[in-house]
Symmetry: C2
Subunit: 310 residues, 2 copies
């Protein structure tokens, strides 16, 4: 089983408007609300592909109840720990005329030391059944070393860790040696100060990550691993909403560990699911036709050290 | 006692952002939430001025519970009817760099025929104690003739009606003969198709309103009444947030009926409270220093029919 951890779940609300006028007042169309947060999206994608998955994390207040209800309606297994502070909302305003999606993300609740301790014990109780744990997304009001603590907990139980985090939350977790970290290009550059993805990924490995899979947008994926260096990409450009492509990638990487796939198969699947997430209307969903159509066209190439200016 | 009716209450949420970038993703500062809706704001202003007031209307879901809790914390008496659909939110994004406030208003819940009937009976039970009822703001999913039905109900109980509504909700209520309707200039023009406020107000009276008080922004108020025609204005321009100025005006008009003030005193008070609402940080609040400072400088002039091109 794969366990996904979403410490800062969200109720993702979409406001449709005909046009977005800064400084104006808009009567929005019927809002659409959906359980979100990166780990929740990863769980949705795994559930869609029949991979045994359990979503956990912290929820609170009426927003947290809405998140649980929405996951139950979607059939995604979940077992969250309750906190007193209400889970956050995100509001995305989608303008019909331009297609622009403008997002406003609340920061999330403060979490007490007692609540954090209770969550760590809760996660520990779930790890006995888990081969992989996914730690994904922003942190609410918890210590910045939260992902380091959870990575070490998973390792004590022999559970592999896939981490999708940014900035100090990522840096603090590296020394615990997560199995795979998945930054995107701008996160990698911001975190390492290096513009070359190969060099940046190498630096994250030097700091403790066992493998790094960097998502480079239309340039596909770069995998820097103990077994070698690969690039995987797709020879076409798909139009759509890139939100959620990273979560689909993380889902494939977690499935690859759980299923024992070699790196090329992991990367091929990760590119296919990511591309098919761009075409799908919501984060946490993969368009099956696109996924199946592109799968055999994905190019996975091993890069040799001599070819890399490092 | 004055009863304010807010059929479409809202939890007004403010998102502070450093700058608003259309198409961007924003992590917002700590959101601020406050009970709102026009009738709720009117009740707040009356409560601030020591006028006996009760806020009623429809509330539902967790948002409705938040609205009730916020009014209780503010000490505003309230007695709402519960509906199954959740009360709406409004989200206002305030950009620190430009000062722009960009508002997104959800439409509000659907209300069943049984819920509407229960509310009408609930309001009827409150009217025995009420000298004035204020009907204010947008309609949720209720029939468009809702304000006409409530106006007739109030009249059967000898309760005066102050109505602040727009478009078809306003037009449908006119034939019931509300005591005062308060459109602003653009609402008046949109409703009547006339650019002259005097002519527009006259048309609304021809259609059934006993008196019309049009709020004309920096040009103050125009009152078209059975007792005469007045203009009231302030010889200075106040900077601030005009949201809530109309609600402060309605509060003063309702207080004027309840207290038996003549039209000049009603209009002087309405201009003072409106101007002082522009300076206050939130809708439903009047800045007392501004109110007291401007009061004696307000110009109220009677206009004679011969002076008006009608």
């Amino acid at each position: 089983m794969i366990v996904t951890v979403t410490l800062n779940v969200a109720l993702d609300v979409t406001y449709p408007v005909p046009t977005l006028e800064v400084g104006g007042s808009h009567v929005v169309g019927t809002p659409h609300a959906r359980a979100g947060g990166k780990g929740v999206n990863v769980a949705r994608v795994l559930h869609q592909h029949g991979c045994p998955v359990l979503a956990t994390g912290l929820v609170g207040g009426p927003t947290g109840a809405d998140v649980r209800d929405d996951l139950a309606a979607a059939g995604v297994a979940h077992d969250f720990a309750e906190v007193a502070g209400p889970s956050r909302r995100t509001v995305t305003v989608v303008a019909a005329d331009s297609g622009d999606a403008t997002a406003f993300n609340e920061p999330g609740p403060e979490v007490s030391a007692a609540e954090w301790g209770a969550f760590v014990r809760h996660l520990e109780s779930l790890l006995a059944e888990a081969s992989v744990v996914v730690l994904s997304g922003s942190l609410p009001g918890v210590p910045v070393y939260a992902y380091r603590e959870l990575t070490r907990l998973a390792q004590r139980h022999g559970t592999a860790v896939v981490l999708d985090a940014t900035q100090v939350a990522l840096l603090a977790a590296l020394e615990a040696g997560p199995d795979i970290v998945k930054p995107n290009a701008s996160e990698l550059a911001a975190t390492t100060g290096l513009t070359s993805p190969v060099e940046g990924a190498g630096q994250l490995r030097d700091r403790g990550a066992r493998a790094v899979v960097a998502s480079l947008g239309v340039d596909g994926l770069l995998a820097h691993t103990p077994d070698g260096l690969w690039r995987a990409s797709i020879p076409e450009r798909l139009a759509g909403n890139p939100t959620g492509a990273g979560d689909a990638c993380v889902a494939a990487l977690a499935a690859g560990i759980a299923e024992g796939w070699a790196w090329p198969q992991r990367l091929r699947t990760a590119v296919a699911w990511s591309a098919a997430a761009v075409v799908a209307p919501h984060a946490g969903t993969v368009d099956p036709d696109t996924r199946d159509r592109v799968h055999d066209h994905i190019l996975v190439e091993e890069i040799h050290a001599a070819d890399v200016h490092r």
